[in-house]
């Protein structure tokens, strides 16, 4: 039995196989509607989440499975002080697989250690959100046709953005990726990510302060939100806030083939006028997320792909 707690829990080859399956589901979802019949997903959301929870639940229903769980820690036994370890032990009797979202970092790993069923980390505080990383990778591959030889820009809050850190780590396993890190000084990628993921592998990267200077060379632009509360003083925030907003005018500097990704929700960092541009890929990401989660549930449950008669990889 395996779990998905961190994107690195799967090898790159396994991740690619998972993406292959997600692509096949994307192209013919009807062929998968009974694959998980009589299987149950425990949807354990200790904090509210709209998109991730509904995406997991939609994924299970799309596979013909059932869903049980709770949408908020306030209505679960956690409110009475039950440990994550005890909760997952009990849930293991009721369901076949669990997706857990918890405000505390490492909660999913804690659950996995006591679980009798596969556990999927649906976000543990500011730490990790591996299914987001998988759907980001899937979207990049569907958009560009490859996960090699790409120049990938990350823009905005690169210090606290868990999706950024996970995606950098995942892309660092691919060949020929050049990383362009666009952020204010206050919100740089943490040094340990640069040292352990990029410098240790001799991967090319640059750090810049404005997106205009690098937009023409990017194949992917991964946008994130710059939040007011991350700045030490209001002046810096006011001075910088528009620097990291993508507008149609700035997008004119980019290649026609570039794709703009965003983990959502966005506030104002991507102007609404960009939504109609063919380079906007952020709503596709949300769609791909359902297919990726279907592929993940199938694989962790050891369910065969009706198209190939095989599992994506053994778990």
């Amino acid at each position: 039995m395996r779990h998905l707690i961190d994107p690195a829990d799967f090898t790159l080859e396994e991740t690619l196989r998972l993406m292959d399956l997600a692509d096949r589901i994307h192209d013919d979802p009807a062929a998968y509607r009974n694959v998980a019949e009589r299987k149950r997903l425990a949807s354990l959301f200790y904090e509210p989440s709209t998109r991730t929870r509904l995406s997991f639940e939609a994924a299970m229903y799309n596979l013909g499975g059932q869903v049980l769980g709770f949408p908020d820690g306030g209505v679960s036994s956690a409110a009475k002080g039950e440990t994550v370890a005890d909760t997952i032990r009990i849930i293991s009797f009721y369901a076949d697989i669990a997706a857990i979202r918890h405000p505390k970092e490492g909660a999913a790993l804690r659950a996995a250690r006591f679980s009798g069923i596969p556990v999927i980390n649906a976000g543990d505080g500011g730490h990790s959100h591996p299914t987001q990383t998988l759907l980001d990778m899937m979207t990049i591959r569907r958009r560009t046709g490859r996960l090699t030889d790409l120049t990938v820009g990350f823009c905005g809050d690169l210090k606290f953005g868990r999706t950024v850190h996970s995606l950098i780590r995942e892309l660092a396993r691919c060949e020929g990726i050049k990383f362009v890190l666009i952020s204010p000084e206050e919100l740089r990628v943490p040094d340990y990510i640069i040292e352990e993921e990029l410098q240790a592998r001799n991967l090319p990267f640059v750090e810049v302060r404005t997106m205009e200077e690098v937009l023409p060379e990017l194949d992917i632009l991964y946008m994130t939100r710059v939040q007011r509360e991350r700045f030490f003083n209001e002046e810096d925030y006011v001075r910088l806030k528009n620097t990291y907003v993508l507008t149609k005018e700035k997008l004119a500097l980019a290649k026609p083939t570039m794709s703009v990704l965003h983990p959502l929700p966005r506030v104002n960092e991507i102007a609404l006028e960009v939504d109609d541009d063919p380079r906007a890929a952020y709503f596709e990401q949300a769609e791909n997320g359902v297919y990726m989660r279907m592929a993940l549930i199938m694989t962790l449950l050891g369910l065969k792909d009706p198209k190939t008669g095989e599992v994506a990889f053994e778990c």
């Binding site: 440990t83 918890h102 490492g106 340990y192």
Partner: protein, 143 residues
């Protein structure tokens, strides 16, 4: 230059990262050494190698001290054991791959902060740091 007498029986913990000597003092629980032991903490000592460093000298019985702890707190540290005025042993602490229930994660957002009976587990990274396996926060000795 401040001078502290050479010790006859005890240990010298040298090459401590400047500013963290007091933190090590508390982690080693030197305040609990029996009354016969003398402890000197030297801070910001000039060093050719690192510019500045801290040093701890302990004169007296150190048999109950756990020096293994120093390897993961500050791997550049050296420990010199002195008996009857002579150096009898020099120890470079090792860094174990995993530490279980030895140091504690200080991240208030970590699951270990609220979950009962949750082991405190740290893993050694390729860059020689220890990170909590749950939240990945790096362990640092507080100055």
């Amino acid at each position: 230059m401040l001078k502290v007498d050479e010790i006859q029986n005890g240990v010298v913990i040298d090459h401590i990262t400047a500013g963290t000597g007091l933190g090590l003092y508390h982690l080693l629980e030197l305040e609990k050494l029996n009354g016969d032991a003398s402890v000197a903490l030297l801070q910001n000592v000039r060093s050719e190698k690192s510019g500045k460093k801290d040093i701890i000298k302990i004169e007296g019985d150190v048999s109950r001290l756990n020096f293994d702890i120093l390897g993961y707190l500050d791997p550049q540290i050296s420990i010199t054991v002195i008996e009857n005025g002579h150096i009898t042993n020099k120890i470079r602490p090792q860094q174990p791959k995993r530490l279980v229930n030895i140091i504690k994660c200080t991240n208030p957002r970590c699951i270990t902060a609220i979950e009962q009976d949750c082991d405190q587990i740290f893993a050694l990274t390729p860059s020689g740091r220890y990170r909590c396996v749950y939240c990945e926060q790096e362990f640092k000795v507080k100055p």
